[in-house]
């Protein structure tokens, strides 16, 4: 009697579990679909405006010691003058370089073609040039080695796939791309531990990286209101809301506070 009851109970629980499971899996898949709404609008370049501005640092940048490259004689030879870490690079008047400024939200309704020109990332004098590279999801990245020594390129992403490839001198460019937006993926060279760089992978092509003068310009922005974000590797991010009118240039300046 007892045994029979247990059997029935087990069967009931089992069937309930099956129904429950199938329900929940249905739900999750439908959620997944709704989470990625189809972006159908294309940008009309005739009405597109731009966002530009200057990024500055409020306060003095940290002081760095010269990098000790004695681990690889080639690197020492390649840099007759001392080289400093490029974590915080400022220009005259506190302008801040290597800041990625990009449209963080507001452009989800548009579909943007992936830029066909690859982004290059060079290893020169045992340093990365540029130090920060911004690129769109799926855009081709070309890694070059201009040094006469072997480097390895090791991006350590959180959301993307990790890889680690060796590149001897005169080797062909390593090409790859990233599938998921991520600001920003640290890149390192395990052979030369001082080498650090960043890949900022963005969902749209509305981004720009500041030069030493702190200036940036994001072109081809369709009219609308956006959240624009500035990212600096040491100081983090700053957000601003920017409205772009048709065929107009909007300005937006950012100031990071030195810590």
């Amino acid at each position: 009697m007892n045994r029979k009851f247990v059997c029935w109970a087990a069967a009931f629980v089992l069937s309930a579990a099956i129904v429950g499971c199938s329900k929940s899996s249905n739900q999750s898949s439908s959620e997944g679909q709704s989470a990625a709404p189809a972006a159908t609008k294309t940008v009309d370049m005739a009405t597109a405006g731009s966002i530009s501005g200057v990024v500055k640092l409020d306060g003095a940048p940290p002081k760095y010691k010269p990098i000790n490259m004695s681990a690889d004689p080639y690197c020492v030879k390649a840099n007759p003058n001392p080289v400093f870490p490029d974590e915080v690079v400022t220009g005259d008047g506190g302008t801040l370089a290597n800041v990625v400024v990009y449209v963080k939200s507001g452009a989800e309704g548009y579909s943007f073609p992936t830029p066909s020109t690859p982004v290059t990332f060079d290893q020169k004098g045992c340093m990365y040039t540029p130090h920060v590279v911004a690129l769109m999801v799926g855009q081709e990245l070309q890694v070059l080695n201009s040094d006469n020594t072997t480097h390895n390129i090791h991006p350590t992403p959180a959301d993307n796939r990790e890889w680690n490839k060796s590149q001897p001198p005169n080797a062909p460019a390593i090409t790859d791309s990233f599938a998921r937006p991520e600001v920003a993926i640290p890149v390192k060279c395990n052979v030369h531990p001082w080498m650090k760089g960043y890949f900022a992978v963005l969902a749209n092509p509305l981004f720009s990286v500041t030069a030493k003068d702190g200036k940036f310009e994001i072109k081809g922005v369709p009219p609308g209101t956006y959240t624009v974000e500035a990212w600096q590797e040491k100081y983090g991010v700053l957000d601003q809301t920017v409205t772009v009118a048709a065929s107009q240039a909007a300005t937006s300046d950012f100031t990071f506070k030195a810590q």
């Binding site: 997944g32 989470a35 990625a36 959180a158 959301d159 993307n160 796939r161 599938a179 998921r180």
Partner: protein, 1078 residues
């Protein structure tokens, strides 16, 4: 008077008659019951009485003979002298002995006299000392402590009166204090020990004389002496006629548990001669001894192999576990022997006794005391039973290899699936709606990448394993892929239909084939044969040189040549008397030069032979051997060798051509072969293939397209446990029940006519002629007939195989009875599998008492036995295992100079290369070590380096005319070695073990009886060996062990030293032999 009723039943009827009848019936019943009680149900009573009288008569006869013999011996001069010696010794010893005995008696008396006083006083003093000790040693107790000390001193000073006996027997009264008693007692103990020792010394001559007399008597009059015989006779004459039973109750197990109380065997109730109480161990009793040789019913012989009881004690094994039968039953011979319908374990017939061993020794390759079983196991492989029938433990490498290949294939598939899934998972991750899902998917892909790499690691391991297994897997029959290169096509159909006519000793069974089947099979095999690459053309060789080589190299250890009474050689491989009729010369040369060479490698993953094109695609030369054994296509292990046990004799091409030329002359002049044009008829191909699959040809032969053919026969591992109903006696069922054989004769077993409706009957007839079970059956399609061909075995071999099958049971004995040793005996069994596989025993004697094939050949008789391969009974103790490993891998002991034997270049017979796998080499080395009880791992004994003085002594021994070492031992000098019969000393250091060498140079005949190495080179002096020959005065001063010295000298031998001793130029230790430079 009252009138009686006319019909008073009491008065008018009498029950006398019924009562009388009832009385007689009752009497009859009682007598019948009494008869049954004492005789009918207890035939063993009769047997015991019969035994007692016959055995008493025998013992009396023996006793008379013994008395007479003892009389003769006791009247001999030697005996008299020994007795006189004994008497003399006794006379000399008796007075001393008596005196000492007397002294001992006095000591005993004195000890007894003081014992009581001594014990009392010791107790008292002891207790007072304790009282003193427990008083604290402080000022408060000072006075008490002192008073207690005084008590102790008083007690010690107190005297006891002792009646002290002296030697004259008088007693005097003595007063003794504590110290005197104590010392006196100890002195008495010492004195007694001294006296006892001196008594032993005094009697030693007597004991020696007695020992000498006993030894003399034991030598002259072996066996039981008359006193023992009389005792035995008494036991037998007063024999209590009673039931004798052995109760076998192994702890924790219920053996053969009818009713769960253990096994009870009452066999000795009738088989009285096996009872050690009446026939003591070492005493052999036969029917002839009892004058009963003509009787069929006299179960009184003693056990023919009493040694077996050393390992199988009666009280743990009983009788029936080995012999079968119903050990409890006593009423009739049939029931006791279990030879009735429903008893599952009938007694084995004498020709199948060893079936009993197999039950627990099924995992053995070689079981001592079971020669028939050992032969059966070799036959099971050699005759190819194993080709079609699985038997657990046999030929497991082939199965292992198949499993490995399957596992690799399935892992590769898994890897492919994974490799396809990885990019998919990454893609899904790229497109995932949120980062958490993406990370999960990326992690899955990463995990798969890691598992692919793990698969790669596993596949690498399996490839390594299959490399080893590919070397170990051998097929029973020759490779049929190469028929087009090696065979005369007209020979194939002749062979299939006249197999035993062509070679009466072949292992190939005779298939009963119809002419159309022969044609179809021949055509299929021929058309399926490899067509290229073509063989090299070989010039003709010198047949007479080839004949010499063939007869001397050792080919005859496996092959035979000649017919009928002219036949010589072994039966493991083919008889070669007609090989010239079938073989292609070019192929034969290649085969003899290196039989492991294949025309094309086989890829078990692609299921085809690779071609030069497959290699060319990868830019590789068409080279495949053990060093190049991976497939250029899939990277896995190939079959790169012929799967034959035929080894490589490392011959030059010239020598191979000579032998092949000789073999090509081996023909029957009267042979005639029909044309076989149908062999190229493609329309026969499909039918041929069907037949080849039907008859399981590919179970023994390698045939293209059928390399993976599964065994077609039934699994025989537990064939002896199958119920009789599962054996298909077909239309012979009634005949089997009636004991009528297929040929119409009545079956007689063990002297009595018998039915053959049992397992033995089925196995006997099936092995004699499997076809009989098809007789009379309606089988219109020839494919419905039984597959099994007729095996080529003689009746003795058949008995052996039947024993093997009968013993192949799912044992009813507890698992602990199975012989599955885990110590060195395990290595011995593992080794025997390999030794029997490669027929090492064709050339070598390995087990004491075992004879090699070569030992029986006419060319090795008498003085010629010096040319035999070495005896290996002590190989494990003789050689360094590291050296043995390298020798087994390459018996030439040289990478370049291979056309020779590495150790015994003076022998014409040569150790060939077997291409053993690493695992086989390891097992063989362990086997030889285990056979000689050598410890593993081997740690060589450290030998002290020779001092200059020692070296010069050793040289004088070595060059002494009494030790003509280099008369026989080779030096590497061609002229010198022409007459050499023993190995070069230069090898000693790396090859030999020092302790063995020392035993060898002192007592070689105890290691290998009959060896050419002389004994008596050294004599034992005290605890050292001394050279037994003249030595210069300087050398005579040496006080160390001279055998040890010579051993150390030999282990340090250098070419320079050797040439200095011989006065010849030195030659390198591994330089060539005479045969290499022909």
């Amino acid at each position: 008077m009252p009138e009686l009723p006319p019909d008073d039943p009491i008065k008018s009827r009498s029950f006398a008659n019924p009562i009388l009848i009832a009385f007689f019936v009752l009497l009859l019943c009682v007598s019948w019951a009494m008869y049954q009680e004492f005789v009918g149900l207890r035939p063993w009573r009769g047997y015991q009485n019969e035994f007692a009288s016959a055995y008493s008569a025998y013992l009396q006869k023996e006793l008379r003979a013994r008395d007479a013999a003892e009389k003769t011996v006791s009247s001999s001069a030697d005996y008299q002298k020994l007795v006189a010696n004994l008497n003399q010794a006794q006379d000399a010893a008796t007075p001393k002995d008596t005196a000492i005995e007397k002294q001992i008696a006095v000591v005993d008396l004195q000890r007894a006299a003081i014992l009581h006083a001594f014990q009392t006083d010791r107790s008292l003093v002891g207790s007072l000392i304790y009282d003193y000790e427990i008083v604290p040693n402080t000022a408060d107790y000072k006075s008490e402590k002192q008073s207690r000390l005084k008590d102790v001193l008083d007690a010690e000073a107190k005297t006891y009166s002792v009646d002290w006996p002296d030697e004259s027997g008088k007693t005097t009264s003595r007063d003794m204090n504590y110290k005197q008693l104590n010392d006196g007692f100890n002195q008495l103990l010492d004195k007694k020990a001294q006296l006892t020792a001196s008594e032993g010394d005094a009697n030693k001559p007597v004991k020696d004389a007695q020992d000498a007399l006993d030894a003399y008597l034991a030598a002259k009059l072996p066996g039981l002496n008359s006193t023992q015989l009389k005792g035995l006779l008494n036991t037998v004459q007063s024999m209590d006629v009673t039931l004798v039973q052995i109760n076998v109750n192994p702890p924790g197990h219920e053996i053969n548990d009818v009713g769960g109380v253990g096994l009870t065997d009452r066999c000795q109730s009738c088989h009285v001669g096996t009872n050690p109480k009446y026939v003591p161990p070492g005493f052999v009793l036969t029917k002839a001894d009892l004058g009963m040789q003509k009787s069929n019913d006299a179960p009184f012989s003693s056990h023919p192999d009493p040694d077996l009881f050393k390992w199988h004690p009666l009280d743990t094994f009983g009788c029936s576990p080995c012999h079968g039968g119903n050990g409890r039953a006593l009423s009739t011979v049939e029931t006791a022997h279990g030879r009735y319908e429903h008893w599952l374990w009938p007694l084995y017939y004498p020709e199948n006794y060893e079936a009993g061993c197999q039950q627990c020794h099924s995992a053995d390759a070689w079981t001592e005391h079971a020669p028939a079983l050992n032969e059966a196991k070799m036959l099971f492989r050699e005759k190819g039973c194993i080709g079609c029938h699985n038997y657990s433990g046999f030929d497991s490498q082939a199965d292992q290899l198949q499993d490995t290949i399957r596992e690799i294939a399935s892992l590769e598939k898994e890897k492919d699936t994974d490799n396809q899934e990885i990019p998919q998972l990454n893609k899904q991750g790229d497109q995932a709606p949120d980062n958490a899902t993406a990370q999960k998917l990326y992690a899955q892909a990463t995990n798969l990448t890691v598992s692919v790499s793990k698969i790669d690691a596993r596949v690498e391991q399996l490839d390594e394993l299959s490399h080893s297994l590919q070397q170990e897997v051998k097929r029973v029959g020759p490779d049929l892929k190469e028929v087009r290169m090696k065979l005369n096509p007209t020979w194939i159909p002749y062979w299939l239909s006249h197999t035993w006519n062509f070679d009466p000793t072949t292992k190939m069974p005779q298939f009963q084939l119809q002419p159309d089947e022969v044609q179809a099979i021949s055509a299929f095999v021929w058309q399926q044969g490899l067509k290229g690459p073509a063989l090299d053309k070989q010039p003709a060789g010198d047949a007479s040189k080839g004949k010499d080589l063939f007869n001397s190299l050792g080919c005859l250890a496996c092959h035979s040549i000649g017919r009928g009474s002219q036949q010589t050689g072994g039966d493991v491989a083919a008889n070669l008397s007609r090989v010239g009729e079938k073989a292609n010369y070019d192929y034969l040369v290649r085969w003899i030069h290196d039989p492991r060479v294949r025309t094309a490698p086989y890829d078990p993953y692609l299921h085809r032979d690779l071609t030069p094109a497959d290699y060319a695609k990868k830019g590789l030369p068409f080279v495949f051997d053990l060093q190049h054994s991976t497939s250029p296509v899939d990277g896995h292990e190939l079959v790169v060798q012929q799967q034959t046990i035929m080894p490589d004799f490392r011959l030059s091409w010239e020598e191979a051509r000579d032998i092949a030329s000789y073999l090509m002359t081996q023909k029957d002049p009267g042979a005639h072969y029909d044309q076989a044009s149908y062999i190229n008829d493609p329309s026969l191909f499909d039918k041929g293939r069907t037949l080849v699959e039907h008859y399981g040809c590919a179970n023994c032969h390698e045939i293209s397209g059928l390399e993976d053919a599964a065994r077609i026969g039934t699994d025989l591992t537990q064939e002896g446990s199958k119920p009789i109903e599962r054996f298909d006696f077909a239309l012979l069922y009634t005949k089997a029940q009636d004991g009528i054989l297929p040929d119409g004769k009545h079956l007689v077993r063990d002297g009595q006519s018998s039915a053959w409706y049992d397992l033995k009957g089925f196995f006997d007839e099936k092995l004699a002629d499997p076809e009989i079970f098809d007789e009379g059956k309606y089988k219109p399609d020839p494919m419905d007939r039984l597959h099994m061909p007729k095996p080529n075995i003689d009746p003795e071999q058949r008995d052996a195989l039947v024993s093997f099958l009968l013993g192949s049971t799912e044992s009813t004995l507890p698992p602990s009875y199975q012989y599955l040793p885990t110590d060195q005996r395990k290595y011995i069994q593992e080794g025997w599998w390999i030794v029997t596989k490669y027929n090492c025993i064709g050339c070598h004697q390995i087990d004491i008492g075992q004879k090699s094939v070569l030992m029986g050949l006419p060319m090795y008789q008498g003085d010629n036995s010096i040319g035999l391969p070495p005896v290996l009974t002590s190989e494990g103790a003789r050689v360094n295992p590291e050296w043995l490993k390298s020798f087994l891998a390459n018996p030439a002991l040289s990478a370049t100079d291979t056309d020779r034997d590495g150790v015994r270049q003076y022998l014409k017979v040569r150790m060939p290369t077997f291409f053993l796998s690493d695992d086989e080499i390891r097992k063989l080395v362990l086997f030889f070590e285990a056979l000689s009880s050598q410890q593993e791992p081997f740690i060589p004994e450290k030998l002290a380096p020779l001092t200059d003085q020692e070296r010069s002594v050793a040289r004088s021994i070595f060059t002494s005319p009494a030790a003509p070492c280099l008369k026989c031992h080779a030096t590497g000098n061609l002229a010198h070695d022409k007459n050499a019969t023993a190995p070069n000393f230069l090898l000693a250091g790396q090859r030999l073990r020092a302790p063995w060498t020392e035993r060898w140079i002192t007592e070689p005949a105890t290691i290998i009886p009959g060896t050419a190495m002389p004994s008596g080179l050294f004599v034992r002096q005290g605890d050292r060996w001394v050279f037994n020959g003249p030595l210069p005065a300087a050398a005579k001063q040496y006080t160390g062990d001279e055998a040890d010295l010579l051993t150390r000298y030999l282990f340090e031998m250098t070419p320079q030293e050797q040439s200095m001793l011989t006065g010849r130029t030195p030659s390198a230790p591994n330089s060539g032999s005479s045969s290499a430079k022909k």
